[in-house]
């Protein structure tokens, strides 16, 4: 198990899941290549500059975007900056403990961050206020509310959706009128786990608890690869890796469509 590092499944349950997998089945009746229902709600908060709540099955993640004025990095004096954090509060799972972020939460935040950063989703060039002096810093905060597996995809999707409706709070800093945060096409993250020789997409918690290896890939709108993270102590063969990426390209298209529909809805409403 990855995130919580506790709470091993009983061996009876473990054997049962392995037997199911051999028959091509999953504990919740899905096919190996089937996501749980995905629900995206945007603009759910008032104080955040942007926000979204994403549910994948029972897993629920809230992403909130805050912008602050700060100094640019010395090597990119004309670019804004971004920072991603993940909180796994005890609210979301009996295994989560309060305290500073554990390695699992740090890995989660860093993988989501890489997907967004490497796909150049946020147009950081447009976030310069005064070259070398003042730029916008975009804080992406992931707040897990209910943990039933696959935090990587839920968090990445919540961050993408929240950034889509985020604004630059110019008024709060007396810099003119508020305006939309300039974003390009979002990355879409797809996660697989391997157990009992099966590789399944969108693992639920039961599956994560017996997973041997995990594979997450973030794809851009052309299906190109922007970030990869292999996790856990199991291994993948070269062919499995290649196959994962091809399967991810299929799933990412569907999830992207979902996100765009949600975006369209929002636009019509406003």
């Amino acid at each position: 198990m990855d995130i919580s590092e506790i709470g091993r499944l009983s061996s009876v349950r473990r054997d049962y899941l392995a037997r199911l997998a051999k028959e091509g089945k999953r504990p919740d009746g899905r096919g190996f290549d089937e996501y749980r229902p995905i629900k995206i709600e945007k603009n759910v908060l008032r104080n955040a500059e942007g926000s979204a709540r994403v549910k994948i099955g029972n897993t629920m993640v809230l992403a909130g975007i805050k912008l602050e004025v700060g100094e640019p990095y010395p090597d990119t004096p004309e670019k804004g900056a971004m920072s991603t954090s993940a909180e796994l509060p005890p609210l979301a799972s009996p295994e989560f403990e309060p305290g500073p972020p554990k390695p699992g939460a740090i890995e989660l935040a860093r993988v989501v961050d890489r997907g967004i950063r490497e796909s150049e989703y946020i147009d950081l060039e447009k976030l310069c206020i005064e070259p070398g002096e003042k730029v916008w810093i975009v804080f992406i905060d992931l707040h897990v509310l209910d943990y039933d597996g696959n935090l990587f995809d839920a968090s990445s999707l919540a961050a993408s959706a929240a950034l889509q409706n985020a604004i630059i709070p110019n008024e709060r800093y007396e810099l003119g009128e508020n305006e939309p945060l300039p974003v390009r096409k979002p990355p879409i993250s797809c996660t697989f786990v391997k157990y009992s020789d099966a590789i399944v997409v969108d693992p639920c918690l039961d599956e994560e608890e017996i997973a041997e290896a995990r594979f997450t890939v973030a794809l851009d709108e052309n299906g190109n690869i922007r970030a990869i993270q292999k996790g856990l102590s199991g291994s993948f063969t070269i062919d499995e890796i290649k196959n994962n990426i091809k399967r991810a390209q299929f799933h990412a298209r569907n999830i992207r469509k979902l996100l765009e529909e949600e975006n369209g809805k929002k636009d019509k409403e406003s």
Binding site: R46, N47, E68, L91, A92
Partner: protein, 235 residues
Amino acid sequence: MLMKDGLRIDGRKPDELRKIKIEAGVLYRADGSCYLEWGGNKIMAAVYGPREALPRHIQDPTKALVNARYNMASFSVEERKRPGPDRRSTEISKVTSEALENVIFTELFPRATIDVCIEVLDAEAGTRCAGITAAAVALADAGIPMRDIPVACAAGKVDGMVVLDLTSEEDKEGEADLPIAIAPRTEEILLMQMDGHLTYQEFEEALELAIKGCKQIAKLQKEALMKKYESFEEE
């Protein structure tokens, strides 16, 4: 400034609550949970337990510990808050734990802990009262045996007038804030904090108003729990 023609800046009467929406049983993993919107506040509360208190040396052999953790999400306020507890949230966690412990039959669960998680997702004045109110519903949803369902509300003083349930602006510009939590059946005071400036008469008036507010909210709590049970039976 804050009052005009007997009404408040958001159009409420002095003894009127902000809009409150309560939903019980909204989380899958928690033993009990509650989502609450109260004016601009959005709160998620979850309860885990009773479960064994760990590490063991914190166990009380005579009763369960009640351990509430009030936490503000970093994006819940205008200026981004650094994640993690600060002095304010530590104090609120403490008085919240004490208020909730009062009504729970803790002696039924020696060596156990009952963990109450309160996450403020969006904040607009009165989050401690909103948190306790939500936590109480989550405790009931978790089936924790309680002698009453606590409920919290604040009264205050604004432009010289005692009013119910302050907004951010009233809290900041006003003259006093008096948050309380009560056991509504007996009207016992479980939590009381106050800061500002009240004469004794104003204090009495504010306390009465806050209790009235608590009782209105107690009804909403019960409706939310009822609705959850009904939807449970329908399934």
